[in-house]
Amino acid sequence: MTNVLPRVGWAVLALVGAIAYGVVAVSRGETINAVWLVIAAVCTYLIAFRFYGLFIAEKVLEVDPNRETPAVRYNDGLDYVPTNKYVLFGHHFAAIAGAGPLVGPVLAAQMGYLPGSLWILIGVVLAGAVQDFTVLMISTRRDGRSLGDIIRSEMGPVAGAVALIGVMLIMIILLAVLALVVVKALAASPWGTFTVFATIPTAMIMGLYGRFIRPGRVGEMSIIGFALLLAALIYGRTVSESPELGPLFTFKGETLALIIIGYGFVASVLPVWLLLAPRDYLSTFLKVGTITALAIGIVIVLPDLKMPAVTKFIDGTGPVFKGGLFPFLFITIACGSVSGFHALISSGTTPKMLESEAQGRFIGYGGMLMESFVAIMAMIAASVLEPGVYFAMNSPAGVIGADAAKAASVISGWGFVVTPEMLTQVAQDIGENSILSRAGGAPTLAVGMAEIFHRFLGGKAMMGFWYHFAILFEALFILTTVDAGTRVARFMIQDLVGAVIPSFRVTKSWTNNLIGSALAVMCWGYFLYAGVVDPLGGINTLWPLFGISNQMLAGIALIMCSVVLFKMKKEKYAWVTLLPTAWLLICTLTAGLQKLFDPSPAIGFLAHASKFGEALAQGQVLAPAKTIEQMSRIVFNDYVNAVMAGAFDLVVVAMLVFGVVSVRKALASPRVTAIEIGGKMGHA
């Protein structure tokens, strides 16, 4: 009898999930309630965690609770600390959750909520959570070593070097695209700009407090910081309405880009306790708090999804990003379903704190399921908007024009009925001058969140507050990432250059610090500036490149996981990682090749370059460029982007070759060849 009850429970859960999927997938022409999507997602996660996650833990990885983890073996109370599993889950989730799972689904909503949601749910179960969990366990069994180190020792030094170059490229594109999201959100928005600028002195006050007045009191610092932020947020409205102060905080995209580039340089040179660390406290707590609030908000408000399940833009002609459902949907939504970046986290601090191997499934697989739920919430937030408003916010000015009347007529022409009054009304509600062409995901998500929050907290009058709160929350952790990422890129550059000029490796040297920081900032600053001046909005170009690079990294991590499974003589179960590897390689290679060689200038970089190059040769100026100089800049940028796309493809192909070679070697050997530490299979 005791065995029957749980089975009945799981069967009921599966049935409920299936019904929810039915409602989500079948309804056409009428709006559905977000609750169905939430139910479908939660049932999927529970079942996947209980069955597939357990299968991977028991059969594939043979998790052994008695095997010593590095946290126990090297316990030093600092880096290696056996940690309570719920505490570690919080740490791991805070490290993997960021802007990625919020922005991707918002952009993908142009194809309707259904394709994106399905990919988020299927992708996380079969790819994302599998990657995070497997990498976590592989690293745990290797003293918590990093992805690059593991690839080097399991697949050879050349494979390790190629993977590191891949990581470097993804860092650059990531920083550029995230900074671009902030620029797009703050351009011509004095309220948003003021509050985000105010985070700098706020963080410094916190930093000084936590350094000299009450050293190390993180809670007190964060409360002070939060109070100052709220004050700035409320005062921001006054600033934006003031004829003297308003213009001081109203910037064009180009200016903002230069400010952020300069800021990134200064911030990465300053001592960490003054700016980076305190702002990291604020952004981390605000991030986790806001995500929780959004989940509660969705459950309380139960909004209707106004976006159709599937729009006509699955044919690849959408204004938000170009390219068909395959492969571009799978590139656009990276972080919510599978994110290569997580492989760096799962082989970073988390494996050094895992108390027991038995907890790996909860942290690795479970943590990623949670991240996927964040992506589902972002999809809901984007879909509660009127589709016409969504497209007005996310289409480039080159397509819908710069005034509400023109935009409304263009968008209504696509079949999403919207009036100019609706567009100006939304702008007025959220305390902005215009909502047109605010691409990048953040503003759309912010309007969606304001839409949900104001219904149970504060009413219509609070919409502006909630909108700018959401912008602040996103900008805050993006800028923290930009700052921390610039430092990491600086160390990577110092390491690379140091191979030739050894003295450049000394990280304490101020000269090296300044040169390294400048180089790092220039790398992502170039792409950021090019993205801002791009008349098609930049997000169009940069987000696919970022998606390709992130999925490429996931492909690399999963190739490594597959190799390790073969070396463990687990080839019977290798399909668990080979399946997502194959899918990711197909997606990234197809997308990369299309970005390079597609004959349509809207998709292919080279086609775009030759179209503009030919016009340039005849002295013509093609819209959206306005001068000959802009024309040649567009052509140059196209070639740079083409080189990046080509580099990603080459890295993927190279890793695939290394992977195949390693797998063949493992198959040829009669013994286990995985280099593990501890455990009965290990070679300590």
Binding site: G77, I96, G216
Partner: protein
């Protein structure tokens, strides 16, 4: 009941701190006392600075966050 609330609060505080790279100081102290008796133990302030430097500064430039 009171103990349960106390444990919950303690765990929440621990989670919040670890999210920003600060492990449990008490655990560190106990670990040092147990495994390195007689050797110096960092004060909370030193421990805090050491962890801060290690999370953001250190020569290896840890990637502690995601996109």
């Amino acid at each position: 009941m009171r103990d349960a609330v106390k444990t919950l609060f303690g765990r929440l505080q621990q989670t919040g701190r670890l999210m920003v790279g600060l492990p449990d100081y008490q655990a560190y102290v106990e670990h040092r006392k147990r495994t390195h008796p007689g050797e110096p133990i960092m004060s909370y302030e030193e421990f805090f600075r050491e962890r801060q430097e290690s999370r953001y500064g250190g020569a290896n430039g840890k990637i502690g966050r995601c996109c």
